[in-house]
Symmetry: C2
Subunit: 142 residues, 2 copies
Amino acid sequence: MDRKKKLGQFIEACRHSGLKITPQRVAVYEVLLTREDHPTVEDIYNEVKKKYPFVSLATVYRTVETLEELGLIRKVAYWGSSVRYDANTSDHHHLICVQCGAIRDVEFCLDWTPPTNIQGYRVHKYSLHIYGVCPVCQAKEN
Amino acid sequence: MDRKKKLGQFIEACRHSGLKITPQRVAVYEVLLTREDHPTVEDIYNEVKKKYPFVSLATVYRTVETLEELGLIRKVAYWGSSVRYDANTSDHHHLICVQCGAIRDVEFCLDWTPPTNIQGYRVHKYSLHIYGVCPVCQAKEN
DNA sequence: AACCAATCTGCTAATGATTTTCAATATAGA
DNA sequence: TCTATATTGAAAATCATTAGCAGATTGGTT
Ligand SMILES: [Mn+2]
Ligand SMILES: [Mn+2]
Ligand SMILES: [Zn+2]
Ligand SMILES: [Zn+2]
């Protein structure tokens, strides 16, 4: 719904940084704004290709890097083989399926604030990883 | 302290699964039991090489996979380029340096238990990732 | 609208991490 | 000790990601 607003911010951020607004960049960010599943670069690429069949994988890699530098998306910590991205940059937690790797946002917040200093680390923020089996994988267990 | 006990469990687990007890396997697990910094495979390899200069990187990769299958070690969720392993398989949390990637165990527990079902996921366990700047990186800030 | 400098893109080659292949070797049990 | 089987080291293969480059786009300027 405020996808338009987010896209506006993106265009603003590009202008501010002297970056050009290209259809590929917009398409990559749009895919990320639409998807709730923390897609890989390959996932994004496949989605963008539907609209721009000649887009290259390298461009998608470059674009997610740019978007990350602009602070518009972030990587999700994960132990799988490829990096997964998240356009939700607000503080939130993740539900991770230990079978298939599906990652979803947790819809509640934890009312816990970490100390600003833990074991000498100057703490910025935290994130909860909740591991379990997703509905799809549960269904497969029959 | 109970390194001996853990090694004993490892040997027991190998016997139980028909796996052979080789010096390389023992050395890899010993390195993991010793280190508190969640090393990469390369880190482990460099350490094992001190004792067995002819060990191969492939063997270390194979061994960590075996150890993981036995449930004796686990991967740490992380967004860096190489996987990091943890011989501490009990529930605990991690402090992660956003500058250098140093990962340490958090020494406290959170008295929070997640619901067994969240958004359809059958929940197993959770882990907290606390992000900040480690003492070493703080010192470098001058 | 045509022009231009700088940025981007697509393609391909290079890299880095991890896995596989396979012949030679080590382990465990008889 | 002998033997079947699992494991190892070395090299090649694979997968994810990055870099290099020539040609195309973009966003101002005339
Ligand atoms: Mn998310
Ligand atoms: Mn740990
Ligand atoms: Zn699943
Ligand atoms: Zn650090």
